[in-house]
Amino acid sequence: MYNLTIAELAKGLRAGEFSSVELTQTFLKRIHQHSALNAYVTVTDELALQQAKAADAKLASGDASLLTGIPIAQKDIFCTLGVKTSCGSKMLDNFIAPYNATVVDKLNQAGAVMLGKVNMDEFAMGSSNETSFYGPTKNPWNTNTVPGGSSGGSATAVAARLAVCATGTDTGGSIRQPAALCGITGLKPTYGRVSRYGMIAYASSLDQGGPMTRNAEDAAILLQAMAGFDEKDSTSVDQPVPDYLADLNKPLTGLKIGLPKEFFTADLNSDMAATLEAAINHYRQLGAEVKEVSMPTLKMAIPAYYVIAPAECSANLSRFDGVRFGYRCDNPADLSDLYTRSRGEAFGKEVKRRILMGTYALSAGYYDAYYIKAQKVRRLISDDFKNALSEVDVIMGPVTPTPAFGIGEKLANPIEMYLSDIYTIAINLAGLPAMSIPAGFINGLPVGLQIIGNYFDEARLLNVAHQYQQVTNWHQQKPKGFE
């Protein structure tokens, strides 16, 4: 039962083959059985069973959505009323959220059952889940490797069958990179498509929530429930949400795929290149036309991101001051000591590094040289995408330079860790939607294919991903020991 997709489970629930309570119990048991993966920060057993009972009643009365009764994991960045919302940080280890994020409200309304809150890099800053206050989550494909980050707990939970699906957030690749490293499907929607209300902010002009699932059809179902205009988010976009399931089966004949030559250089690992080539050949067989595109400013994405994201982070994280909620140091000597020590004792090293970087980039005398320059570069990167997407329907490329790396391998070298986001970061700067889907294995570890689309073209991305999943079975592979 735990290997079934949302669509399959929804049928089983309606046919009375099992109840949501039985389904929920199965997952809760698995979560506790596999706690060594460290996927969950908080397991909400009681609340889950209550929600499952309510879902069963809804299913019986016929008043149910496709998500009613489906067990889901929430990334611990989404505020959940009455439930600890840690954001992977000691700063919020004692934080019981006083309200729900809009995404949480929407999924509750759809009748989804929350199993608990899943692990993540501290304040979503990291690409390996190793910066979490709660310790690293492990990749079920090889527990000595990282699941990626920052939505590492979400990816591990879905890959190891500790949830049917999960929410994630993506600021520089935090949905796509862990989805790739754990062999699942992840979608970062267009900026503004999913409400950021109650989603703890890292870099507000880049952050976007999205679904992490076993396949594209499930991603369509979950995105359908998450997306939509929200008055409570000032950057939410007031545009109708299309039916994401409607176009899944459209044939891909004549689809124009662009391959940026800047992605496929001699630097790309040869196994990775071969895997991607095989995936692109599948698309040729499905009737797609493939052509090269050029985006010369792509290589500036990492430098621009590491100005803009830390700058926004240093402003956003100034709210954690030890006064109104969160961690407070013992016996502060005065107000300045209260701020400085509370923040110093509760933030981890990577968060501090980015606050320092952002504070420096925004400080008097450096603002124009770094922040304004980075915003100008951002415009040029975005223009590159606009030009490419005026010639092709979607852009494809790698998600990561390599499959999952070892736990501890890159921790000592932050810059090297940053470079592992080279293929994902530019998409956040442009605000475009993009997906990662399983496309093969290298040495037994999953590899992702990235599909990038135009603004609000999530339905096409899902269609392109779904058609590939009809002719391949990479997305159906299960990690050994978790089948």
Partner: protein, 95 residues
């Protein structure tokens, strides 16, 4: 470009961020490495390019000036480190 230990201490003070003395040197190294990465941007000519603050170049939405929040002081203060009579307590500021 490189930052000194003193620069790091100054920035940490601006951010009201406590950092251990023994870590100052490693932050200085890491930040210098990040700055080297950023200076790559100077290769790119950005004259006459307007800075991009928002991916969709959206204008801030306005709403009618009416009260939409109701008072939830007790609810919010239930998670505060220290409160008294509805006030947040901090160390004495004025002697």
């Amino acid at each position: 470009m490189s930052l000194t230990a003193n620069d790091v201490k100054k920035i940490a003070h601006l951010a009201r961020l406590g950092i251990d003395d023994q870590d100052v040197e490693s932050y200085a190294n890491d930040l210098s490495g990040m700055l080297d990465l950023m200076t790559q941007m100077s290769e790119l000519n950005t004259d006459n390019v307007s800075p991009m603050a928002h991916p969709l170049d959206q204008i801030q939405r306005l709403r009618p000036d009416v009260v939409t929040e109701h008072n939830q002081r007790e609810h919010f203060q239930a998670i505060a480190p220290q409160v008294e009579d509805g006030l947040y307590l901090v160390p004495k500021v004025i002697e």
